[in-house]
């Protein structure tokens, strides 16, 4: 029998942020001490001894000196060859090389950064500097093993969140949907459910396949519509929220700040955006008790994480390959390993405080990636749905942290913005 939290569930909300690794945002939680013991011992974060060599061969340890803005103003490389170097510590290809997460500084140093600047890629945030993400990660469920789907950039990774595949793409180029695999929005609507993508505003617009906007504008809404839908109890069964991707003038001479946390946008504004989205759900009691909200990052953005990305299960392949000229390394990629680990937090009043879902550090851990998003949403709302990749069909259910017990209202936080 399904737990009460799943029986009551009516809405799944996914908020996908940009380009920050797990260790950069949440790794510091492992170093928080209370009464001589680790306060969050189950979180697979940092020990403080993780390191990378710089271009002089100096060993540089992780440091709790991440800045909200200005530290990563050279956008760290996160295209396929760059991430390959970050993971394997070398540009050499071929059998025998071992993933060791030792190429982050080397990669950043190739971008005209000074030696000092290149060390910034090892910086992480002390938990107190990220009050929103820290609060949500420690109050609800944090995933130790959620990885980006591809060791590459935004567009192909976000495609996995919408289609369960990138149709063979590992880059930022525009791609076209290939039948019979359709988006999660198409599936939901065909199945008699409701689904929407909320972009921030027209000036920021959508990062989600522009073809979708052209073909099916009815599945899009603005962020103000999301807040209105929360207030009016008209939220769709499934929705995906996009932050603001650029700084631009607001109405009446105001200023709208980018809230995506993509370097070098201010991380504080992203915190406020996450808090505002959470509040929109949290402050409507009926919605709060029937909604699960996932906050997840599309990829690591070239920033250090210590966990080696695992291989994909060869029994359940994506079924595609990217040729060597497409990957940029000269070697084909068969979608057989994941990208770097990213922060992922599931929020619901049916999740006990301090839930940690183990990942690769635990023999019984569970590996999640963005194909789990359409996978879980499809399985939850539509049950069986044939036309999707074996990889998505076999992806893990991210709703497992929901239990039978509804936390009292006074036990769940609200953000004061």
């Amino acid at each position: 029998m399904a737990p009460t939290g799943l029986d009551k569930l009516k809405h799944i909300v996914v908020l996908m942020m940009e380009n920050r690794s797990f260790d950069h945002m949440l790794g510091g939680l492992s170093l928080v001490m209370e009464k001589g013991k680790k306060k969050y011992p189950k979180i697979n974060g940092l020990t403080g001894n993780e390191s990378n060599p710089d271009m002089n061969g100096t060993i540089v340890k992780v440091q709790p000196n991440a800045k909200f803005q200005g530290q990563l103003d050279h956008d760290p490389d996160h295209h396929f060859p760059g991430v390959d170097l970050q993971i394997f510590g070398t540009t050499q290809q071929g059998a025998g090389r071992v993933a060791n997460m030792q190429g982050f500084i080397k990669s950043y140093a190739t971008q005209d950064t000074s030696i000092d600047q290149s060390h910034g890629i090892m910086a992480y945030f002390p938990p107190e500097n990220l009050p929103v993400l820290t609060r949500l990660a420690t109050e609800y469920a944090v995933f130790n093993g959620w990885f980006s789907s591809i060791p590459g950039p935004t567009i192909c990774n976000r495609a996995f969140a919408h289609y369960g595949t990138s149709y063979g793409n590992v880059d930022m180029n525009l791609f076209f949907v290939q039948d019979p695999i359709v988006s999660i929005y198409d599936r939901m609507i065909q199945g008699g459910h409701t689904a929407k993508i909320y972009y921030y505003d027209q000036q920021s617009s959508t990062m989600e396949i522009v073809n979708l906007l052209k073909r099916q504008p009815q599945i899009f809404g603005s962020y103000s519509q999301f807040v209105a839908d929360c207030n009016g109890n008209t939220l769709p069964d499934y929705c995906f929220i996009e932050p603001c991707y650029n700084d631009h003038p607001g109405p009446g001479g105001g200023q709208i700040l980018a809230s995506d946390q993509h370097p070098d946008h201010n991380v504080k504004e992203g915190e406020r955006f996450i808090a505002n989205t959470y509040n929109a759900i949290r402050t409507n009691q009926e919605l709060w008790e029937t909604t699960a909200m996932l906050v997840v990052y599309d990829e690591h953005g070239g920033i250090y994480d210590h966990v080696v990305p695992p291989n994909c299960d060869p029994n359940f392949p994506d079924g595609r390959s990217a040729a060597g000229d497409k990957t940029g390394t000269g070697v084909a990629f068969n979608f057989d390993r994941l990208g770097v680990r990213v922060p992922a937090i599931l929020i619901s009043p049916y999740i006990p405080r301090g839930t940690v879902i183990p990942g690769t550090e635990d023999p019984n851990g569970v590996i999640y990636e963005h194909a789990c998003i359409p996978g879980t949403v499809t399985n939850f709302f539509l049950k069986n749905f044939e036309n999707r990749t074996a990889r998505e069909k076999n992806s893990k259910n991210f709703l497992t942290p929901l239990t039978d017990t509804l936390r009292p209202d006074d036990d769940c936080w609200v953000f004061d913005l």
Binding site: E18, Q69, D75, H79, P131, V132, P153, T154, I155, M172, N173, L174, Y199, Y200, D201, Q202, Q203, S204, S205, M207, I209, V210, N211, L213, K214, P217, F220, Y223, S224, Q225, V227, A228, Y245, N246, D247, H248, P251, Q255, I256, L257, A258, H262, N266, K268, E269, E271, R272, A275, N276, N279, A280, T283, Q285, D411, C412, W413, V414, F415, D416, L417
Partner: protein, 110 residues
């Protein structure tokens, strides 16, 4: 009447100095522009001039182009950005203030 909440977490404001619409666009926005340009091409009538996207250098330039293209495909999305969702704090029990000295100089009743 708005509900009051017991557990409230203060979220710091972003400094105004964070805003810079003159910032050069990232690779991400550059590709977003390219994707929209493909759509612009597909929607163009024969002989219609296309936007010269090579001139889009800053986030301000990008936001203007994105607005123009998005409005064309999704005119419903014109709503203004929503203000923050502010819950109401519970009222604290008022601390007892020391009684102000009477200006009139009247003596307290005993």
């Amino acid at each position: 009447m708005k509900k009051k909440y017991k557990l409230m977490q203060k979220v710091p404001k972003t400094p105004k100095s964070a805003y810079n619409h003159g910032r050069f666009i990232s690779s991400l926005i550059e590709h977003q522009i390219k994707h929209f340009h493909e759509v612009e091409k597909s929607l163009a009538k024969p002989g219609e001039a296309l936007t010269d996207i090579s001139k889009i250098k800053t986030e301000l330039h990008a936001s203007k182009y994105l607005k123009q293209m998005t409005a064309r495909m999704h005119p419903q999305g014109t709503a203004q950005p929503q203000k923050t969702v502010k819950p109401q704090k519970p009222k604290r029990a008022a601390k007892r203030q020391p009684k102000a000295k009477a200006k009139t100089g009247r003596r307290k009743r005993k």
